[in-house]
Symmetry: none
Subunit: 205 residues, 2 copies
DNA sequence: GTTCTCGTCCCCCTTTTGTGGGATGGCGAA
DNA sequence: TTCGCCATCCCACAAAAGGGGGACGAGAAC
């Protein structure tokens, strides 16, 4: 089985290489530090499975997965993330990933997930699968709403947001009113915290 | 140099072992998955440096560091964390750690930090050191202001904050006005984002 | 002593925010 | 096609937010 690794942490890459190369029949054919370079590495090494980190500078794991799938619709991506946030898992699976594993997973779980996916199957850690099954999917946040949320987090007033997007201030207020309800919060400050928690808005260093 | 590793992620442990064992003069004498077992491993292997993960189930990195220092006040601990939150770094250094390194660090940075600390020195990633220095130079956020910031992030209105703290609404407004200036932001939404970024307010799963 | 910051309180003022109502056009799914 | 959702716009209104002024007591710092 040919495996490609996408992770910006050298320590994770070398840990994965060290564990996987020990295994009979597994070969790491590419290691890549950034989402942006993944398509080229993929084309050059045609791996059976891609092990993809979620938190990457630049393109994140989801975006990179989508690009790989544009390039090769049969690409098999296993997301390997530090976190297990429901919305992130949902987004990863929606984006076409074949599985989702936390970095707390044991070596056996990792190997099991890899072989399941190489065979064309899917893999979700049991704990995650259960949680997702019981998850009541709340109303989804639209593109426009996400856009406005990120401007709110930057301290923009409704008037400024309207100007930036070229729409009326009343429309902005309407969007905000809707998104506050969807997030189950009462004002833009709490919406900011919730958007950051859900990964809708990023906080850069 | 004898190194002990404390990290619950097998992939990080094997990555560290793989990278460190390649190096002349470095030997990994203990690997440990939980803070609770660290003291025993430490006593059995007497390492020169302990590489400590921050996010551990049970005892976290700071608590484990403190226990190791009770046991051996000359223990040298290098925190190896996924994050770089100001308050966490502060707590780690206050707790007696000799250094703080993010998991995004390169192999060279890691080796450099390890040898600096083995020699009895300290190590803070340059970016982090600058940021901490910058924060100390900037105006400091008072206790009351932090308290109010976290209530703002929870969506509380000024009136509610006043009631919760048993003070007048005008006083709350005064505090908010001050803290907005100190953070260099224009409203409570942006203040929320900034407070989260600086680690003043935490976002839990 | 004096000066400084912190936390507290009051007044007044403008601007912003958030919600309610109602309305239109587009677009995709049932 | 009809229905629902998205995005857009309008109006009106109450509440909230944020800034300005001035003031006071406690305690730390000089």
């Amino acid at each position: 089985m040919k495996v490609m690794i996408v992770d910006d942490h050298f320590v994770v890459r070398s840990g994965l290489v060290a564990s996987l190369e020990l295994e009979e029949g597994i070969e790491v054919v590419a290691e890549c530090e950034a989402g942006e370079s993944a398509p080229d590495f993929y084309a050059a090494s045609s791996p059976d499975v891609v092990l993809m980190d979620m938190q990457l500078p630049g393109w994140n794991g989801i975006e990179t997965t989508e690009r790989l799938l544009e390039q090769d619709p049969s690409a098999k991506v296993l997301i390997f993330s530090t976190f297990a946030r429901d919305d992130e898992i949902q987004a990863a699976l929606d984006g076409g990933a074949k599985g989702y594993l936390q970095k707390t997973a044991s070596r056996d779980e990792l190997l099991g997930a890899l072989s399941r996916i190489a065979e064309g199957g899917n893999y979700l850690a049991p704990a995650i699968a259960n949680r997702l099954a019981g998850l009541k999917l709340g109303p989804s946040i639209t593109l426009r709403e996400r856009e406005i949320l990120s401007l709110i987090a930057k301290g923009r007033a409704n008037k400024e947001i309207a100007a930036a997007l070229g729409i009326a201030e009343d429309t902005v207020k309407r969007h905000i009113s809707n998104v506050l309800q969807k997030l189950g919060v009462s004002d833009r400050a709490q919406a900011t915290a919730e958007a950051i928690r859900r990964g809708i808005v990023k906080v850069e260093e």
